[in-house]
């Protein structure tokens, strides 16, 4: 390649679409910061300008890095993720800063500073992975090792995990607490993609006739699926984490469908999960309690149902257009109405301040991420790559659906995070990794040589 590239460096490829979308995101976030600052101070002011500038700077840096790297990767993912992360940052600035306090060296950081720190790190990971990962060999060759690592992580949490809000999700590593199930979801996607791609032919062809048009897979091929089901239900029981179980199993079913094309198997999987869950609810009081709280939180409005009810009230106060950033979440005696709003109920807080309009817009952003991921999957060179891309996008999309539906009392409430918006280092860093991998897998290869046909014709004419 020749032209403007420096020796030893790839030729920069301009990314106008991404730049344009990033400008829109910057404009929206500035407007949000202005709205929040004005509500808070009573005069025209920008809330926490340094934080917003840092965040927009980090987005710009990733953009410039992708341009300089010269890879032709997806141009919509970064701005979409940037929008969601920015909304999360605005929310973190808007909430009381003492919700999370951590000492880093001599400095004491509050909620917004920590969220900003994690966001910038997540963007850095996304950028680095997008530029550095050229091949997925290291992912596909060692799929069983990855699976073993994942199970190891899970076991580690079972054994050493700390209980928070009735779920065992947190692993303490010195001063940093870490939620391994966040990383586990990526590892599982890698394993599923490798396994399902390898066995795709068998999954599609080796079917046993049952009755009429109904066919089923022979037992040996169902074993991994059964193991997955057992793992998911095991997580419900041992970790008491319905959210992660639902997420893992849904993503597994989606990928299984992509690989086998069999809707019957998927429906069967859903039925078995529901059946298993019903049995668990009959056996374990804690599961039963969760379901009861979901069905009727008003049965115990000041106890188990409190959080759920307060969240629904927040949605209701928001109405169609919301109260405006900073004008909602009325604190009574200095207490926010929803406990754990920054981790478990960010959508309720945003639903109040941005209204149903804001909620639908946020859901739309997640749908954009899913559609980009599926696009990358459809255009992928082989099955492993396709299933990897689809799985990674689904991990984000399905997780968003589960927690949003939980906040809105459509399904039982779960403790998983709202990707890119909830406070939490593990979640942000892992989701940054997911975006980086998606970007890397979307590479359309080097720029094709410019317009050879026209040059050829000119040459002929001259001759």
């Amino acid at each position: 390649m020749t032209g403007s590239a420096l020796p030893g460096f790839p030729r920069p490829v301009p990314r106008w679409r991404e730049l344009g979308l990033l400008a829109v995101v910057a404009g929206a976030l500035l407007l949000g910061g202005l709205s929040l600052g004005t509500t808070r101070t009573g005069r025209l002011a920008l809330a926490h300008p340094a934080g917003l500038a840092t965040y927009l700077g980090a987005l710009a840096a990733v953009h410039v890095a992708l341009v300089l790297a010269g890879r032709r990767v997806d141009e919509v993912l970064l701005p979409t993720v940037g929008m969601l992360g920015g909304i999360g940052l605005l929310l973190a600035e808007r909430l009381p800063q003492d919700l999370v306090v951590q000492r880093v060296g001599s400095a004491t950081l509050g909620l917004a500073s920590l969220q900003l720190l994690w966001l910038v790190l997540a963007l850095a990971i996304a950028g680095l992975v997008a530029i550095a990962v050229r091949s997925d060999r290291w992912l596909r060759l060692y799929k069983y090792s990855w699976a073993a690592l994942g199970l190891g992580l899970l076991l580690l949490t079972f054994v050493f995990g700390r209980e928070v809000n009735g779920s065992i999700l947190t692993l303490d590593l010195g001063p940093v607490s870490w939620q391994p199930s966040e990383l586990l979801k990526v590892i599982l996607v890698i394993f599923f993609a490798g396994y399902l791609a390898e066995n795709r032919v068998l999954l599609a062809d080796a079917r046993v006739h049952v009755a009429g048009r109904l066919t089923l897979l022979p037992a040996p091929y169902l074993l991994p699926a059964a193991l997955m089901l057992a793992l998911a239900l095991g997580i419900v029981v041992i970790q008491r984490d319905l959210g992660a179980a639902l997420l893992f199993f849904s993503v597994f079913l989606c990928l299984f469908y992509l690989a086998s094309g069999s809707k019957v198997d998927v429906l069967l999987g859903i039925a078995l999960f529901l059946l298993g869950f019903a049995v668990l609810a009959l056996v374990f009081a804690t599961v039963r309690e969760r379901v009861a709280t979901w069905l009727d939180p008003w049965a115990d409005p000041l106890g188990t149902g409190y959080q759920t009810i307060q969240a629904l009230h927040a949605f209701a106060r928001g109405g169609l257009l919301g109260t405006g950033l900073g004008a909602g979440l009325p604190a009574v005696a200095g207490q926010l109405p929803i406990p754990a709003v920054h981790t478990d109920f960010p959508l309720a807080a945003l639903g109040e301040e941005l209204g149903m309009t804001g909620v639908v817009a946020i859901l739309g952003c997640y749908l954009v991420i899913v559609s980009r991921g599926l696009r990358i999957a459809a255009g992928a060179a082989d099955d492993v790559r396709a299933l990897l891309a689809a799985g990674l996008a689904l991990v984000i999309g399905v997780q968003a659906v589960i927690i949003a539906a939980g906040n809105l009392k459509l399904i039982p409430l779960t403790g998983i995070t709202l990707p890119f918006i909830s406070y939490g280092g593990s979640s942000l860093l892992v989701n940054g990794l997911v975006v980086g991998l998606l970007l890397a897998f979307s590479d359309r290869g080097p720029v094709p040589p410019a317009a050879p046909r026209r040059a050829h014709r000119l040459g002929r004419k001259k001759a």
Partner: protein, 502 residues
């Protein structure tokens, strides 16, 4: 199949499946968005205006609560500041404790103060447009005033007339449903509960009072109605065509002495021996309050028609009203006979207001108002308008709950009710309800409660019978016969009402 062939077959393009998966995800997101719509649009009002809503509670601490006014603009509830600068509520009169309730930083709120908290706190009306527009204005420091239909004069008088007795009075304008008085005794010291300095003492006094003053008997009290319920039976009989003005039962005079045998159960009456062998028609039976006639009329009407008429009047469901209301009932339900009656004995007893019939005083006032209003039941209302701090008034329109019976049948029943108060034999029971110069229509009730206690004393009625402007229901617990206690009380109230009319 060769390995290559199998491979080719297995590597079917994922395209269509990817699209289908994308559609499935889009549907899931759409479902979540619909969920947001349910809570943020459909359920937005009732959740965000609930007294337990954090927004309402927070506003209560920062907003000056709107005042509550009576129909003439007299202030029923206003605010005062305690030494620390915190606002608390003061009420014009103890007699208002049932309809207005209280609001307290310690004990929450009740009555109209709870039901209309969001309006009193200026959190906007119910229409989405004005709420959306309100976002662009400065936050309110003052809530809206509530203009009610109550008459402080009548309210005070009703409570005074009930005196030391437990009971309730509901008076309303049958044309509009405007509630003029909604009294429940005993009352409690709502101002005392609202004042932080006296709240504990006042609230525990109200809680410990064996008379249960915190129960609003007018809307929540459930009573056996006795003969006052015969008007409901008449409405059911006339509207189903089972009975008419000329209906008479030949066996009725005989049964007056021997008792009416229904399924082996003997219904005895015998309190109007002077009618002797006369087979009473509808008006006469109503005038002398003949239980035998009404038991026979109820049996002829049947459980299904009784149930249908009662439901049209509002039985079986909370009455749509500014305050929460208890459900009146015709039967306990679940019986094998139409309408949920256990047997014909229960039906015959229910027809004259015994059996398993339980009613709220508000429901019975609406029965009287329906007859007074030509068969159309008015929707009761307490709040007639909202006055914003800037003086803008938005009126709450009057509404009806629909036609219950034809105007002609209503006129016939009204005529019988006039006879029950003004007739030669009627006034033997109900003379106390008469008002000089005004024709009063009414029906007493003497509700036997079983045991040895005095019966509950009922009166329902309206006046002037030619063009009614007031309908009422009076219940005095253990007050004796309807004619001895409730009817004179109603007469006193009506006299005061008409004396105050221009």
């Amino acid at each position: 199949m060769t390995a290559a062939g199998m491979g080719r077959r297995g590597r079917r393009p994922l395209g269509a499946r990817v699209v289908r998966l994308g559609v499935a995800l889009a549907i899931a997101f759409g479902g979540v968005a619909l969920g947001a719509g349910y809570w943020q649009v459909l359920r937005a009002d009732d959740l965000s205006h609930d007294p337990s809503d954090a927004g309402v509670i927070a506003a209560a601490r920062s907003t000056v609560r709107g005042r509550i006014l009576d129909r003439d603009g007299r202030v029923l509830a206003t605010n005062r500041r305690d030494p620390s600068g915190e606002l608390y509520r003061v009420y014009a009169d103890r007699s208002l404790s049932a309809p207005l309730g209280y609001v307290s930083s310690l004990y929450g709120s009740a009555g109209l103060e709870a039901a209309d908290a969001s309006v009193l706190l200026g959190l906007g009306g119910d229409d989405p447009l004005s709420r959306a527009l309100a976002k662009f204005r400065a936050p309110t420091q003052r809530g809206d005033d509530l203009r009610t239909s109550l008459s402080l004069t009548l309210q005070r008088l009703a409570v005074r007339l009930l005196g030391a007795d437990r009971g309730a009075v509901v008076a309303l304008d049958p044309r509009t449903g405007d509630v003029l008085a909604l009294a429940s005794t005993p009352t409690f010291d709502a101002s005392g509960v609202a004042d932080p300095a006296t709240a504990r003492a006042a609230f525990s006094a109200a809680l410990d009072d064996p008379g249960q003053p915190l129960l609003d008997r007018a809307t929540q009290g459930l009573y056996v109605p006795g003969s006052a319920f015969k008007i409901v039976t008449a409405i059911a009989g006339f509207s189903s065509g089972a009975i008419n003005a000329a209906t008479a039962f030949p066996q009725q005079p005989g049964d007056e002495t021997t008792g009416l045998l229904v399924d082996g159960f003997r219904i005895v009456d015998g309190h109007h021996l002077f009618t002797g062998s006369e087979a009473l028609d509808f008006a006469r039976a109503t005038e002398v309050s003949c239980n035998i006639w009404y038991a026979l009329a109820g049996l002829r009407t049947g459980g299904a028609a009784m149930d249908a008429a009662a439901r049209r009047l509002g039985f079986g469901a909370p009455i749509p009203f500014d305050l929460p209301t208890a459900r009146s009932q015709l039967t306990n339900g679940g019986g094998p006979l139409p309408g949920g009656f256990a047997d014909d004995v229960e039906l015959a007893n229910a027809a004259y207001g015994q059996g398993e019939v339980l009613v709220t005083p508000l429901q019975m006032a609406l029965v009287a108002a329906t007859v007074a209003n030509g068969g159309v039941e008015p929707r009761p209302r307490l709040v007639t308008g909202l006055v914003s701090p800037s003086g803008a008034v938005s009126n709450v329109p009057a509404a009806t709950l629909g036609r219950v019976l034809s105007a002609q049948d209503a006129a016939t029943i009204a005529g019988a009710m006039v006879q029950a108060v003004e007739g030669v034999d009627g006034q033997k029971f109900t003379e106390g309800a008469q008002v000089a110069g005004v024709t009063v229509a009414g029906k007493t009730g003497t509700a036997q409660l079983g045991g040895t206690g005095e019966p509950n004393s009922w009166f329902i009625g309206f006046a002037p019978a030619e063009a009614p402007t007031i309908a009422l229901a009076v219940i005095v617990e253990h007050g004796g016969s309807g004619g001895s206690r409730a009817a004179p009380l109603a007469g006193d109230l009506l006299r005061a009402y008409f004396a105050g009319q221009p």
